[in-house]
Every structure is written in structure tokens, then in C-alpha cells.
């Protein structure tokens, strides 16, 4: 048996893969959080609930309306994004001129309400959601067996992260978003509808969370609590990457997923806390995060 650092290579690569999968979700979720925080200056505590809603839209859509997985990848982000836009327009936007704590408390309350509602109707246990036939099965590589669905998740998440990064860094709309992040009232004085931009940004962030939820549905079960389980780690990712840094959120998401996976190989007892240990170290050495700007 081939060994690497005294560990069988299958175990090593297996955990590397698990780490990359988790990292894919961390990256997608922290990207949405970073986009929302960058422009709205709101720490979106409802992000985990929006991820959960995405999974539920896929699950319920399949069960009641026969919406297949591929359509759910589009429908769920649109539904949850529209819901996010409604929440932003009617409630969250009233809090922008207040202390940031109000936005945080509001989204936290929203998360609890959404989770509680889903628990009331669907209970706390998970519901299965199967991957489409085209993505089931596995590829046998010389050193390991690679489940096709997991490979798909990694590829899809990478593509979406890169697309969002390109949207923000390379397009006219992205330049407007970046400018509005720096000085919203000046951008609005140029004739740009900044309140609308804020609504769309919140919808984009919520939609990204929902997309992650659909991708997660066949791997983890669809449960009202799936969001609160992952969101704490995602906040740690955002802190390590640097609040509001788009590239930082993406890269840190994958890195910490892999770090978590590899810790399972070498020191399994620490795997649940390794991300938080890294967060503590980063906060001591570089309080603005790995990709954040000081001050």
C-alpha cells in the first residue's frame, strides 16, 4: 500500500476530497456573506437559513411539483433570491442608518423564525434527496474511488465562485458595486439607483446560499437545522479571509475545508476545532484577515 506521511494514500486522498467538498460549500456561502457585507455592511445571520431554504425548495419542488434537480439549481436561487429581495426592501433597508447591531439582530431573528417555521412543518430530522441519475455512481481512479456527485459539487462551486468574482471585478456592474461599497451616496448622486443595487446584492447573496443548499441536498440530508450547523464555520471562514474580501472568502473557503479534511487524517480529534484555532491565530497575527485591508 502506498503511504504518504505515514498514512495510506487512499485515506489521505479521501479526506482531501471530503475537505474540498466542505470547502466548496464554505466558499459559496462565505462568498455570499462577503458580497452582502461589502455593500450593505450587514452581517447576514440569515445566510444559513437561506441555504437551508434552497435545499427545501429543491426538496419540496421535486416532491410536489416534480421539479427535477437541474431545474432546482436555477429555481431555488431565484425563489430564495426573490424572498431575500422582499425582506431587504420591506425590513432590512430600514435598519441601514442605525447601529450595525440592528442588522445583525434582525437577520439572526429572521434565521430563527425561518428555522422554527420549517421545523414546525417538517420536523428536525433530515429528508433524503437523491442526486439525478447522471450524477450518481463513481469513477474508479487508480488510487481511489471518486463519487461523481462530489466531483460535480467541486466543479460547480468553482465555476460559480469564479463567475461571481469575475462579475464583481471585471464588469461595469461590478465596478458600480465596488464604487457603491466605497461611497454609496456619491455613486447615487451620479444617477445610479443605489437602493435598488442594495436589494439586488442581498438577493444575489441569498441566491448563492440557496444554490449551495441545492448542491448540498443530495450529500447532507435536507433538514431545517442544516444551515445553523454550517453557518458558524462559514463565519469563521469570512473572518479568516477578511470581512468583505471576495477573493479572500473564496480562497479561504477551500483552504479551510482542506485543512479540516487533512486534520481528520492526522489528528481526527482536532478536526472539529481546527478552523476556529486557525481563526484565533489569524486574528492575533492579522486582525483584518488574510486578504483584508488594515484599517
Amino acid at each position: 500500500m502506498t503511504m504518504i506521511f505515514g498514512i495510506p494514500i487512499q485515506a489521505f486522498l479521501g479526506q482531501l476530497l471530503v475537505g474540498l467538498i466542505n470547502g466548496s460549500f464554505y466558499a459559496l456561502l462565505s462568498l455570499g456573506l462577503a458580497v452582502i457585507f461589502g455593500l450593505l455592511r450587514v452581517i447576514n445571520f440569515a445566510h444559513g437559513a437561506q441555504y437551508m431554504l434552497g435545499a427545501f425548495v429543491a426538496f419540496l419542488g421535486l416532491k410536489h411539483l416534480g421539479i427535477p434537480y437541474w431545474a432546482a439549481l436555477v429555481v431555488a436561487p431565484l425563489v430564495v433570491g426573490a424572498f431575500g429581495a422582499l425582506i431587504e426592501r420591506t425590513m432590512l433597508s430600514r435598519l441601514y442608518n442605525l447601529d450595525p447591531l440592528y442588522g445583525l439582530l434582525f437577520t439572526f431573528g429572521l434565521a430563527l423564525t425561518l428555522e422554527g417555521t420549517m421545523r414546525w412543518y417538517y420536523g428536525a430530522s433530515g429528508q433524503p434527496y437523491s442526486a439525478p441519475a447522471a450524477l450518481t455512481g463513481a469513477i474508479k481512479l487508480p488510487f481511489m474511488v471518486l463519487p461523481i456527485y462530489r466531483a460535480w459539487v467541486i466543479v460547480a462551486s468553482l465555476v460559480v465562485c469564479l463567475a461571481v468574482w469575475a462579475l464583481i471585478e471585471k464588469t461595469r456592474l461590478g465596478a458600480t458595486l465596488r464604487a457603491a461599497t466605497e461611497n454609496p451616496s456619491l455613486v447615487q448622486s451620479f444617477g445610479i439607483n443605489v437602493p435598488m443595487l442594495l436589494t439586488l446584492t442581498y438577493a444575489l447573496g441569498a441566491g448563492l446560499a440557496a444554490l449551495a443548499g441545492v448542491l448540498a441536498a443530495p450529500i447532507y440530508q435536507v433538514s431545517p437545522l442544516m444551515g445553523s450547523n454550517i453557518i458558524i464555520v462559514v463565519f469563521a471562514v469570512v473572518v479568516v479571509g477578511g470581512m468583505g474580501s471576495i477573493l479572500g472568502a473564496i480562497v479561504t473557503g477551500y483552504l479551510l475545508g482542506v485543512a479540516e479534511g487533512l486534520t481528520k487524517v492526522f489528528y481526527p480529534e482536532a478536526s472539529n476545532i481546527v478552523i476556529f484555532v486557525i481563526m484565533a491565530i489569524v486574528l492575533i497575527l492579522r486582525p483584518a484577515g488574510l486578504f483584508g485591508k488594515e484599517g
Binding site: R172, A175, T176, R178, A179, T181, E182, N183, S185, L186, V187, Q188, S189, F190, G191, I192, N193, V194, P195
Partner: protein
């Protein structure tokens, strides 16, 4: 003929602090009007209130026959007003080109990119640099150029010469004279009245939140004693 920009009894507040106490200002189409006054007298607040950036205000602001008081901030530019803030407002995360292309075109008749590059050659050379890597003078040029692209009819310019070298100030003066030839209306806030006297048609003097004097450029010499007293120069 009614003025293009007609401000009457404008009051404005920053929080509890009452800054403008009934400002009256009329600017005709094609005119360059300069507001003189010491620091803290309300010149910048006047421009920011006209633009709608200061929302706590009362009075009347008309522009091209439209009421600006009830207009949302993002509609004011579309009515034809362009604002160049004192701090210039160049975006650090945007390249020079991105800064230049940021404000949407609101009306036909704005400058083309070629015209802008002819007027401000530095902006062409440095088009891919981050906006805030430009010198102070270049940032001022960029802040003006991006509004000139939009087709705005009236430019609100807040202390464009502040902190700049004489040769740059001269260049900005040339730009303003070029704009006047094209029929642009300009409201200029300045402390440097030697500069202002070369570009303005008419002056307002501002003191403690009101306009205390108003006179055409021809009377500048006769008003020197008053200006020295009010401006402390």
C-alpha cells in the same frame, strides 16, 4: 427669463446643527457663478443640499423648471446636474477608466472619450492604474472628466484648485473656459478668488449660512475692500 438653477430660502441642517439660513442663488444657463467665503460658512453645504446629498433641508430648489426638493438623490443627476466633490471622490478599487465610465450618461451632448482624453491626456496614459494612485491634480481632472462625459447641463464644482500646484490650477482654469465656450453652466465654490476672477461671470459672497453680496465680475475691483474684510485675505 427664469434662471436654470433657482434656489430660494434654502435652509439645511447637519443633525441638530443649522448650517444654511435661507440661501438665495440664481444661475442662468451658460453662466459661471462663483461662491466665495471663508471655511465653514456653508459653501460646500449649499452645493451638497442642491444635489440632494444633504437631505435635511427646506426651501425651494428648481432646476430647468423641475423641483429638486422632492426628487430622490439618484434622479437629480438625470435632471442634468453633475457634482464634483471637494474630496474628489475617486474610487480606490476602480481603475482610472472604471472611474471615468462609472457615472451613467444622462443626456446627449456630453464629451466623448476622445474629447476627454484630448482635454486630459494624463487620464489616457494612466487609464489602467487604480484611481487613487493618481496625483491630486490628476484626481481632480478625473473627477471633472467623469461628469463631463454624462451630458450634465450644470456642473457643481467644490474647490477644484484646493492644494494643487499653480500649473495644475492654470490647466483647470483652461478647462473651465473651454466648458464655458461649450455653453456649460458652472457653480464654482472657491477660496482662491484670483483663480475665480479669471473664470467666473458673477460672484456670490457667503457668510454664516447666507449670501451677503452678489455682483458681476466687472465690479470685482470695486468690491476689494469688502472681500478683504469678509474673506480675511
Amino acid at each position: 427669463m427664469t434662471a436654470l438653477l433657482d434656489v430660494r430660502d434654502l435652509n439645511a441642517w447637519y443633525g441638530e446643527s443649522h448650517v444654511l439660513h435661507g440661501v438665495n442663488l440664481q444661475v442662468d444657463e451658460g453662466e459661471t457663478v462663483c461662491i466665495l467665503g471663508r471655511n465653514g460658512m456653508g459653501k460646500t453645504t449649499t452645493l451638497r443640499s442642491i444635489m440632494g446629498l444633504v437631505r435635511k433641508r427646506s426651501g425651494a430648489i428648481g432646476f430647468a423648471g423641475r423641483d429638486l426638493m422632492t426628487m430622490p438623490l439618484h434622479h437629480v443627476a438625470r435632471a442634468g446636474l453633475g457634482f464634483v466633490p471637494e474630496e474628489r471622490g475617486i474610487f480606490a478599487t476602480l481603475s482610472v477608466d472604471e472611474n471615468l465610465m462609472l457615472p451613467p450618461v444622462v443626456a446627449p451632448g456630453g464629451m466623448t472619450l476622445d474629447e476627454i482624453h484630448a482635454l486630459f491626456p494624463n487620464l489616457k496614459e494612466r487609464r489602467n492604474s487604480p484611481g487613487t494612485k493618481l496625483s491630486g491634480g490628476e484626481q481632480q481632472m478625473l473627477a471633472m472628466a467623469r461628469i463631463l462625459r454624462t451630458g450634465a447641463r450644470c456642473l457643481l464644482l467644490d474647490e477644484p484648485t484646493e492644494g494643487l500646484a499653480p500649473v495644475i490650477i492654470e490647466a483647470i482654469g483652461n478647462v473651465l473656459r473651454e466648458l464655458k465656450k461649450r455653453g456649460m453652466t458652472v457653480v464654482l465654490v472657491e477660496q482662491n478668488f484670483r483663480f475665480a476672477s479669471r473664470v467666473a461671470d458673477r460672484f456670490y459672497v457667503m457668510d454664516h449660512g447666507v449670501m451677503t453680496h452678489e455682483f458681476p465680475v466687472g465690479e470685482l475691483d470695486a468690491r476689494m475692500d469688502m472681500l478683504h474684510e469678509t474673506l480675511g485675505v
